[in-house]
């Protein structure tokens, strides 16, 4: 094999692919070939996490990190960096605070505080090449378990590690395996829940796209522990790239005999198949997921019986989330003690978060449990966009709640988030600034759950719809103080009575915003004002007659002809015609128009 002097890693995650990273990788190959540079290798990897500035190209061994690369930049990179050894300054990441170019990823604030366990191979290996995964010890944990450990001792190791379910609930993984292993049956199943549904969350997708073998390996380990020889991955059909890479990974693992019968001469058989979901949020709930796989409607059923007793096809089934599985091989290889030394007392290891919203560095991050929100938002995230003020961060998606400035220094773990009125969830983290209206945020999430409710139980089907209507009324300035009380009461009833996790947690965004931003609700009801200016119904654009010089620019730009006045005389806005588009305010050069 020819020895490569340099590696060019091109991000092949969905985000960067959407901005033509595929074309960039192809162009690199072409230009290298044209110039006869055979000692440089181009590798398409999984997600680097720094999606804000994609497409990403990383050059090794010098760790140069190029951002927002275009196909037309490829020749410059090859000419300057690869041939002449000079970094292409204009493509380097610029630190927003110091405004300096940062040459390599080690000096980027985004990566400094991260610790990568589940994402260890994302952005490092070519996910479509099993050899690279094996070079990074893929399947070594499976080999060790099959050769040197019993199912009992393996479960014990997972228990001792303190790993908890990364899909949201935080149930101890080792215990879950233990229950499934205890139930006797002729057939058992291991299921991987890849039905990632929280708005803005893409942790699982990135793991499957960047390092599919870690999940396959962990499922086989789980199969060995609970006595199952069949694994199923339930993945939503909206993840075509993840599905494609999983298929390739399964095929390659079968060819090497790492899936199939008599794996590594141990006599243990295990194989994995894919099952596609149509992307319903409720199918992330394990009983609904199982029904969907069976070909039934994706509706939850009452637990018990838990899937560990009666799951897929009525057989004992263990369901874990993608990220949970991705943590298993390192736990086996490095030991439970190593894993449990990371994190807080009751939450061990790391957590992957999809950082989104009004933050400078949108992307995928993996941080040790116990890190504070302040570190995540201001150091890794690079602060709030446009220098605005931080208001809140929503964690746990539609099931979670919001955390405010007073929680900035709370260490993030399962229990602290619940105590603060939110939850870990699957890891979506949406940052909001002063321009976000919290009543509208609650309404946004309720809109989502109303849409996604399967309709089986009344509290969720009808109750959440009523919650939505009340919120809608308040954002339109028609709410009363009784409505706020009614919201709270109804929310608590739904929490207590809904059938599954979706319904029980759907009112959380409402309760949490009322708790933390009660004044904002009151402002909507009593003063008929939206303090952030997001609720259009409560917003008036007015012209200050002292500042208006009568240039007529606003009247000309108004799409509905709501502004009248004579030239060189102050203009006025007819509030009954105004649609609050804000075009006039943008156009005015004299700051004469303001929101009230």
């Amino acid at each position: 094999m020819a020895k490569y002097k340099m590696h060019i890693l091109v991000c092949g995650g969905t985000g960067c692919k959407a901005s033509n990273s595929g074309g960039i990788a192809k162009r690199f190959e072409e230009v290298l070939k044209e110039r006869g540079l055979e000692d440089v290798q181009v590798i398409t990897t999984g997600c680097f996490g720094f999606c804000e500035k994609g497409p990403i190209v990383k050059i090794l061994p010098d760790n140069t990190f190029y951002v927002e690369v275009k196909e037309s930049d490829v020749e410059t990179i090859i000419e300057e960096h690869i041939v002449k050894g000079r970094k292409v300054t204009k493509l380097l990441f610029t630190d927003p605070k110091s405004e300096k170019h940062i040459e390599d990823s080690k000096h980027m604030g985004f990566y400094k505080k991260q610790m990568r366990i589940a994402l260890r191979n994302c952005g490092f290996i070519d996910p479509e090449n099993i050899d690279e995964a094996i070079a990074r010890d893929a399947y070594a944990a499976l080999g060790q378990v099959l050769n040197h450990m019993t199912p009992e001792s393996t479960i014990e190791e997972v228990k001792k590690s303190g790993l908890r379910g990364r899909g949201g609930g935080g149930f101890p993984t080792g215990l879950k395996w233990f229950f499934a292993s205890k139930n006797k049956a002729d057939q058992k199943y291991v299921v991987c829940n890849a039905d990632e549904g929280d708005p803005g969350a893409f942790m699982d997708r990135s793991i499957l796209e960047g390092d599919p073998h870690s999940v396959l390996e962990a499922m086989a380990i789980c199969g060995y522990c609970i006595g199952a020889d069949k694994g199923l991955i339930y993945i939503r059909a909206e993840y075509p790239l993840a599905i494609e890479r999983l298929k390739i990974a399964i095929k390659q693992a079968r060819e090497y005999g790492l899936l199939g019968s008599d794996i590594m001469g141990s006599g243990f058989n295990f194989d994995i198949e894919l099952r596609y979901g149509a992307g319903a949020f409720v199918c992330g709930e394990e009983t609904a997921l199982i029904h969907s796989m069976e070909g039934e409607r994706g509706e939850p059923t009452v637990k018990p019986p838990f899937p560990a007793e009666k799951g897929y096809m009525g057989k004992p089934t263990n369901v874990n989330n993608v990220e949970t599985f991705a943590n298993i091989p390192p736990i086996i290889l490095k030991g439970a003690e190593w894993f449990s030394s990371i994190g807080t007392e009751k939450s061990k290891g790391t957590k992957v978060f999809a950082l989104a919203g009004k933050v400078n560095n949108v992307g995928l991050i993996e941080v040790p449990m116990g890190i504070t929100l302040r570190e995540v938002i201001f150091e890794i995230g690079g602060g709030i966009k446009g220098g605005k003020a931080f208001k809140a961060v929503q964690t746990g998606g539609p099931s979670g709640g919001c955390l405010t400035a007073k929680h900035l220094d709370t260490p993030i773990d399962y229990d602290n988030l619940i105590a603060a009125g939110s939850m870990m969830g699957s890891g979506g983290m949406i940052v909001m600034d002063e321009d976000n209206c919290m009543v509208s945020i609650a309404k946004f999430y309720l809109d989502f759950t109303v849409e996604e409710s399967c309709g089986k139980c009344t509290p969720c089907r009808v109750g959440n719809k009523r919650l939505y209507e009340l919120l809608d009324k308040i954002t339109k300035g028609k709410g009363t103080m009784e409505d706020i009380d009614q919201l709270k009461n109804l929310a608590n009833v739904i929490k207590d009575t809904a059938l599954c996790g979706l319904g029980q947690t759907a009112p959380n965004p409402v309760l949490s915003t009322i708790d933390n931003f009660y004044d904002e609700y009151v402002a909507h009801v009593k003063d008929k004002k939206c303090p952030s200016g997001e609720c259009k119904a409560l917003l008036n654009y007015v012209i200050n007659p002292d500042k208006c010089i009568g240039c007529t620019a606003c009247a000309r730009v108004c799409p509905v002809g709501a502004i009248t006045g004579t030239v060189k005389k102050p203009h006025v806005i007819d509030q009954s015609k105004c649609i609050k588009c804000g075009a006039c305010m943008e156009k005015c050069k004299f700051n004469a128009i303001s929101k009230m």
């Binding site: 090794l60 061994p61 010098d62 760790n63 050894g85 070079a135 399947y139 070594a140 080999g143």
Partner: protein, 131 residues
């Protein structure tokens, strides 16, 4: 593609494949490795810098020294090409001039392996702006 029949097979394969990702792993721990920068501007290449670079890549590997060889632009010592800068972990970078293959072997055997200085050092007459 042959089947992996045992854990020993897997381990053997893993170490065979290591070289594929080796360069990337080195990138992660670059501070702990011997770094050699070869000046590869026009003057450097014309004086044989490419051969020197290939020599170091092969020899580090043969001698089991974990190091990284990268190319850099003109260092400004055009009279002394090929020039290289060697950084041994924990020590200041040293620039050597007139590095042909023989000199390269001497630098490898004496300086990199044993820490002995050899002739041909270009004294540092500039400061590097720290990033």
């Amino acid at each position: 593609m042959s089947k992996i029949k045992s854990l020993a097979d897997l381990k053997k394969m893993s170490s065979e494949f290591k070289s594929k990702v080796d360069l990337r792993e080195k990138g992660d721990t670059i501070d702990k490795l011997v770094q050699i920068k070869v000046a590869m501007a026009t003057c450097g290449i014309a004086s044989g810098a490419k051969e020197v670079m290939d020599f170091f890549i092969d020899e580090l590997d043969k001698n089991g020294i974990s190091g990284v060889v990268t190319q850099t632009g003109c260092m400004g010592y055009c009279y002394a090409e090929p020039t290289i800068e060697v950084t041994v972990p924990g020590k200041d970078p040293i620039v050597f001039g007139y590095v042909n293959i023989d000199k390269a072997r001497e630098i490898l055997d004496k300086y990199i392996k044993n820490g002995e200085l050899v002739e041909g050092i270009i004294p540092v007459n500039y400061e590097t702006v720290d990033k």
